[in-house]
């Protein structure tokens, strides 16, 4: 992934001020809110949606919904959290519309396709991003929401209309599948590392 790290300048204007101005119709304030929060909004949509064009369509819908709902934003949560929720909800709704979640309860199918055996690849994250595209939509959604975005199984269950146990099952299958897809890279890293400390998380 050729991400562009965005150094955040010292904020001269707070989110609260920008929101107040944006609600009043100030485009510069709206643009500033977008510029500040779009990297994470774009990222979560992109991770959840396999197709890049579809992700761009959804991102545009997300920002329209955010600004449309902004007058109702009461500040109970941070703007970033509120906007992130809108992005996730909107994306999941779009995926449902596309019936991408039809396979949520289906067993993961084995594929012989593997992520490129590129042991020189220095970025595990980039490999994970590629491997995510090979996961079934349901497993991908649960993995992104839990392991990347930090949602609990209960929250995921509520979002997707499944049980907490179902969310866990999908997550573990997704992790196992990623482990298989990333085997060449991960085995290289494991053998070149002295890290065998499974005791910490298992304790």
């Amino acid at each position: 992934m050729s991400a562009h790290p965005i150094a955040r300048p010292t904020p001269l204007t707070t989110d609260e001020e920008l929101i107040a101005r944006a609600v009043a119709g100030d485009e510069l304030a709206m643009r500033a809110l977008w510029a500040e929060h779009a990297p994470r909004i774009d990222a979560v949509v992109r991770r959840l949606v396999h197709d890049l064009d579809e992700a761009a369509d959804i991102v545009q819908e997300v920002w329209i919904q955010i600004f449309r709902a902004l007058p109702g934003f009461r500040g109970d949560a941070q703007f970033s959290t509120w906007a992130h929720r809108i992005a996730v909800n909107r994306t999941l709704n779009a995926l449902r519309r596309a019936r991408r979640l039809m396979g949520l309860h289906e067993e993961l199918t084995e594929e012989t396709a593997m992520v490129e055996d590129d042991v020189e690849q220095p970025f595990v994250r980039e490999s994970i991003t590629k491997a995510l595209d090979r996961l079934p939509a349901g497993a991908r959604t649960v993995f992104v929401l839990h392991d990347v975005e930090g949602y609990t199984h209960e929250e995921i269950a509520a979002q997707l209309g499944i049980t907490s146990g179902g969310s866990k099952s999908q997550l573990f299958k997704a992790r196992a599948r990623l482990r298989r897809l990333l085997a060449p890279l991960m085995d290289h890293l494991t053998t070149s590392s002295t890290d065998s400390g499974y005791a910490t998380p298992l304790a």
């Binding site: 991400a3 955040r8 485009e27 990297p39 064009d53 545009q60 329209i64 299958k173 482990r179 991960m186």
Partner: protein
Amino acid sequence: MPHLSPERIAALVDEPVTDGEREHLEQCARCRADFVAVRRIVSAAAAERDQPIAPLVPWQQIATALRAEGVLAGDAWASRPPVPSSSSVPSSSVRAIESAPSVVALRHEAPVAVLATRTRSPRWARMAGLAAAAALLVTFGMAGGRMMAPVGAGDGAMAVGQADALPSVAPTGAIIRPCRRWR
């Protein structure tokens, strides 16, 4: 004890382990390596959360859509990238408020080269537009072939028909260059 299943190893990243599983992991290099690998994946995935990506949609496009939806009023002057300050800038107080968002906006939009703005149509609309354009192209091409038999005489008619029908071409004929995406 048999090897742990891949799903069970994946669960052990954040689920309690039994005594039997712990004993097996201490003795089985294969399962232990699998566990370490899964834990690395989960750790890397968590780190991915704060990684920004190149913007999927530039602000100009969102602003155009907001105007089309009636969420944003007024002209498009604020959609344009900020220009360097000159003697004609507003008062210092206004400049102080506007400078921070402008800097942030420019940084986020840096990878995107937009020569014109348009509202992004849904995919189905774009596909329908392309189908219509193709149909017109065939029609014009056939008509051109029948009516303008001399070589090259039909080219102009075909070009006009295609440009009018393509939905992705702005009325001004400007070109939109998409940003290079990271996938």
